[in-house]
Amino acid sequence: MLMATWIEYGVAFFLLIGSAFALVGSIGLHRFPDFFMRLHGPAKATTLGVGCVLIASMLYFSTKDEGLHVHELLITLFLMLSAPVSAYMLAKAAVQQQVKTFNRKD
């Protein structure tokens, strides 16, 4: 019984951390003034945001039923492999399109 409560706390903790980081990433995407700064937002959302949510899901389903259920690892792995590639493609497209960059008021 005590075990189950602790696991519940763990699941809740990871869910909150994950959604908080996804939210911060989206706020960054909303606030930053130029494209290359906005590019840093999704990096947060993919790494810790989705990562923590998937860890929470793994923890929840592995302890709820019989046996280990870790197939969320596949999504984490795929996102970790694909996120740098899409960031690289986006940066290349932006350089080629010559998007406006933000100049600081000094």
Partner: protein, 89 residues
């Protein structure tokens, strides 16, 4: 206790989706819109996984995996389209 936390986290993901959607509509350049779409599908995938935990169903895993696959491919294809310079002006 857990269901309250799940609702809070879904609320936060909902706000992130709205912010991304705002960027998608407003974003000055085409690249910004692609970036917004990229973030949008990642957040949507996470929301779906959280929803799966709430409904206690493992069926949502396949949907999340497919969203990850197709989202990545669409981002790459859209970038390729921009890079090839087929857009007028």
């Amino acid at each position: 206790m857990l269901s309250v936390v799940i609702y809070i986290s879904m609320f936060m993901f909902g706000i992130s989706l709205l912010l991304n959607f705002y960027r998608l509509l407003r974003g000055p350049d085409a690249v910004d819109r692609i970036l917004a779409l990229d973030t949008l599908y990642i957040n949507g995938l996470a929301l779906l996984v959280v929803f799966g935990v709430l409904l206690n169903s493992r069926l949502f895993f396949e949907a999340a995996l497919l969203i990850a696959l197709f989202g990545f491919f669409s981002t790459v294809v859209l970038c390729k389209y921009l890079l090839r310079g087929d857009i007028i002006e």
